[in-house]
């Protein structure tokens, strides 16, 4: 710890005034991410909020895509173009889980619909 290092550190500390610290620590409303829009934006790449049916359609397409990819992986394994069994198994498993999740969502949606229809007006 030479005198020069101490001098440098002193200079660095003086550059960061306490004001700067508190300013960056304050919560700036505009810079917070909008969590509601995040997932939709990531999925569709659009900025406007999507309707529920559009979200469902997009998810269905995604699940179907995973099935197609899993099928392709199986075909590659069966025809010897790849020897990686684990990769194929993982792809198939992923597709299956996505499908089953989708199915659960479907059941929940139907349940919610029935619940709404049961409401006495």
């Amino acid at each position: 710890m030479s005198i020069e290092n101490v001098g440098n550190m002193n200079k660095m500390l003086n550059n960061y005034s306490t004001q700067d610290w508190t300013k960056s620590a304050s919560i700036d409303q505009a810079s917070l991410p909008n969590f509601n829009e995040l997932n939709i934006n990531a999925a569709k790449g659009a900025t406007a909020p999507q309707s529920f049916s559009e979200i469902m359609a997009a998810s269905l397409a995604e699940v179907n895509n995973m099935q197609v990819e899993a099928n392709k992986a199986i075909q590659k394994l069966a025809s010897g173009q790849t020897k990686n069994v684990s990769e194929t198994m993982l792809a198939v498993e992923n597709a299956e889980i996505a499908f089953k999740t989708m199915n659960q969502v479907r059941m929940k949606v139907i349940e919610a619909y029935k619940e709404i229809m049961r409401m006495q007006m």
Binding site: A78, S79, V85, T88, F99, K100
Partner: protein, 135 residues
């Protein structure tokens, strides 16, 4: 998710061919000391790849739905290639079977067979799940 889509056909064809391959391995191992016997091999992967046409490079566009697609398809007449292995060291009595290699290939064939059965089970299982209203 049809029962008989390309993938299922490929898997069932693969099962059949791996059984035949097991027969040839058994034959090679049993005849590892027979004079003049040449090791036999079965190659079905190429024929299967062509029939599957995974990346759809061989498919041709059709103008009418009733026209046949000349590229892929054709799982009914898949011909495996059975040939005598010309590589390998030929011993003085004319036999060129490498017993250890046969056993290693047989083990690999068995593993792939098991994997194929598992994949068939997975696909059938998903189908059954979809039929069973997801309960």
């Amino acid at each position: 998710m049809k029962i008989d889509d390309k993938t299922m056909q490929a898997l069932t064809a693969s099962l059949k061919f791996r059984q035949l391959r097991q027969e040839l391995h058994a034959s090679n191992i049993a005849n590892a000391e027979t004079p003049g016997y040449k090791a036999k091999k079965l190659d079905f992967e190429e024929a299967l790849a062509r029939a599957l046409d995974v990346d759809e490079q061989l498919t041709m566009t059709t103008s009418d739905s009733k026209h046949f697609n000349a590229g892929g398809g054709g799982f009914n007449n898949l011909e495996p290639d059975i040939y005598e292995d010309s590589n390998g060291i030929v011993s003085p009595d004319g036999n060129n079977v490498d017993r250890d290699q046969e056993m290693a290939e047989m083990a690999e064939n068995k593993l792939m067979y098991d994997a194929t059965v598992q994949l068939i089970n997975k696909k059938l299982g998903l189908l059954k799940y979809a039929i069973g209203s997801g309960q």
